[in-house]
């Protein structure tokens, strides 16, 4: 018998997507009764002749992997790659359609901090409630109560209803309870994406301490730095399948190679906000060539958007926000930032936005694209519509580990001595 903490074999999860021109989110009892009645009389079609089409969608398919006890595994992949579905299956929130999961030891999953918190209850009451929700026993919570309160820094407000807490206090308390769980297997989803920078650091520190305590952790994040510093293994998911399973550095480079630097990205699967206009494709060119390798600051970038609108757009706008892996917006470019506004559009068009890449720290940056019209409003917004990888600038080599945070822009500096 091999030694594992988590063993997943040919796991799959299928969702049924119902396409119907009309109808709300919930099935109504009447619909079901009507369907049943129609089935009974052998008449399948609805009255206006349209037929409900049901499409199968595999959020995960044929996923197999094994995690050894004490390993910290980062799960990375684009939005919609199946990360959340995998976590939901592992934490038993939904049932798999195919395959098998074996978990050894007590499992705690943290898909959200503060689940079960009630705004009317005090901090003290919520600690007990949330602890129970996360599967802690009352005696355990009692034992760790002091630690939890210390970590959250809320001792003065313990008997205040949490609805009067600031959002920072709320998050701290919620994370504190979760951080003091002592399961053998911990499943964590993006909890670090919240709170201020200082608190994020504290959470990361706590996670690091937990992982060194020999616990098995599955960690999903978009924060590549966090994955790099916490994890010992990585799983890269792509369209519901495992693309890579192995070391972190290899995983991160697979992720960025696939997700990061694509010269052409298409968006036919995205749903625009307005049915009459959409972005079809983005092409990224650096110094006149399609992008292939990490970009040096100073490169001229051109973002060519192929888009169309059935209606005439009098004052269209196209913007691109450049965001780092921590979710911080570094800068933005777009048609409103040029010498003159974009001309009215109708039908198909290709709009190119060009700019010079500023001196920013090396790493992956995602492009958040927005397509608007002054009168119509938002036409389409695509987060992580594409990404660029910024290469290291030569002089950074001078900087060794232990130097301060690089910040968001690089400023070359010299020195004198007197």
């Amino acid at each position: 018998m091999s030694d594992y903490a988590i063993k997943v074999e040919s796991l799959g999860k299928k969702y049924l997507l119902q396409h119907q021109a009309t109808g709300g989110r919930y099935a109504t009892f009447r619909d079901v009764l009507a369907e049943k009645a129609k089935a009974l009389f052998g008449k399948r079609k609805t009255e206006n002749g349209s037929q409900k089409s049901v499409e199968e969608f595999w959020a995960l398919k044929d996923v197999s992997f094994e995690v050894k006890p004490g390993e910290v595994v980062g799960i990375i992949g684009r939005n919609g790659a199946g990360k959340s579905t995998l976590l939901k299956l592992l934490s038993r929130i939904t049932e798999p359609t195919t395959g098998q999961i074996r978990l050894r030891g007590r499992v705690a999953s943290l898909l959200e901090v503060g689940t079960g918190f009630h705004p009317e209850l005090t901090g003290r009451e919520n600690i007990f409630l949330n602890g129970a929700v996360l599967g802690m026993h009352r005696s355990e919570i009692k034992k760790r109560f002091g630690e939890i309160v210390d970590f959250a820094e809320v001792e003065k407000f313990l008997d205040t209803p949490v609805k009067r807490y600031s959002s920072g206090m709320y998050m701290r308390l919620a994370f504190a309870v979760a951080a003091h769980l002592e399961p053998e297997i911990l499943i964590v989803d993006e909890v670090l994406a919240v709170g201020d920078a200082q608190f994020q650091k504290k959470c990361l520190g706590k996670m690091q301490a937990v992982s060194q305590g020999g616990r098995t952790i599955l960690f999903v994040s978009h924060n590549m730095n966090a994955v790099q510093s916490l994890c010992s293994k990585s799983i890269v998911l792509k369209q519901g399948k495992i693309e890579y399973w192995g070391t972190v550095s290899e995983g991160l480079s697979k992720y960025s190679a696939n997700v990061g630097m694509k010269a052409i990205v298409t968006y036919e699967a995205e749903t625009p906000a307005k049915p009459f206009a959409r972005i079809h494709q983005l092409e990224i060119r650096a110094d006149g060539q399609p992008v292939t390798e990490p970009l040096k600051p100073g490169t001229t970038l051109v973002l060519n958007f192929r888009l169309h609108s059935d209606l005439a757009l009098a004052q269209p706008k196209l913007t691109v926000g450049i965001t780092n892996t921590k979710g911080e917006r570094i800068f933005a470019v777009g048609t409103p930032f040029g010498p003159q506004p974009l001309q009215p559009l109708k039908g198909h068009a290709t709009v190119g936005i060009h700019f010079t890449l500023p001196a920013i720290p090396p790493g992956i940056y995602q492009l958040d694209v927005g397509f608007y019209d002054q009168h119509v409003g938002t036409l389409q917004e695509i987060y992580a519509a594409g990404s660029i990888e910024v290469a290291e600038v030569n002089y950074l080599a001078m900087i060794s580990s232990g130097t301060p945070d690089l910040g968001h822009i690089l400023v070359r500096s010299g020195w004198t001595i007197h």
Binding site: G99, R102, E120
Partner: protein, 281 residues
Amino acid sequence: MLNELVIEAGKTERHYWADLWRYRELFFFLSWRDILVRYKQTVIGVLWAVLRPVLTMVVFTVVFGKLAKMPSEGLPYPVFVYAAMLPWQFFSSALAEASNSLISNANMISKIYFPRLVIPASAVIVCFVDFLISAVILVGLLAWYHVTPNARLFMLPLFTLLAFLASFGISLWLAALNVKYRDFRYLIPFIVQFGLYASPVGFGNAVVRAKCAELTNGDLLYRLYSLNPMVGVIDGFRWALGSNVPFDIVSLFTSLAVTALLLFSGVKYFRATEKAFADII
């Protein structure tokens, strides 16, 4: 050796009852939370639990007792109505609360695993606490009207249990159905309102039976009527408090059978659908 958990398609129920037992603390905390929160930020607080049945009792006493001059089976009319009001109020509020319980805890259901049965169960428990509080008024009424119950009173906990199980059984059905078909959100207030008249709350069951006896096929009609499990419960409550109407054993057994059926099928339906709750809620 650590215990191993196997998750497979269609096989999640193997540890179901053991899991339910492991999550008893969550059940306790959820009930405790709902009890704590129930009367937060109200001025008269827990008095609401008492006020509603008392006011309804006063109205029914005036309408059915004073105006319609209905017979009260040898009990003072207020005691007679309150004895029925108590289980009915519990039943109807349990239905209303439990059927919405899963939806109001949708966030927990989509983020955390636990046996979903805990949620409607704790909703029913919260209503049961209200029931116990308003039962104090019954004691007061008995003292005020100098009604001294006899040994039959010891049967009262059994009828309470029957009321509890009937409420829980229907609640499971409604809670699970409400997740998928939001129609039930509109149907339940109607069931509760209608049920107040379909159950012998304001009047005695003997009146209904006498009227039925006058009709052709009246007996069948009466048996259909007593399929409502609250008919047996309310009859039992009044009997235990000393009403002079002979005990209707058939009606009790009908209630027992219906309750058992509701409970059994409710648990079965709930368990069959709960795996999909997180996907459709």
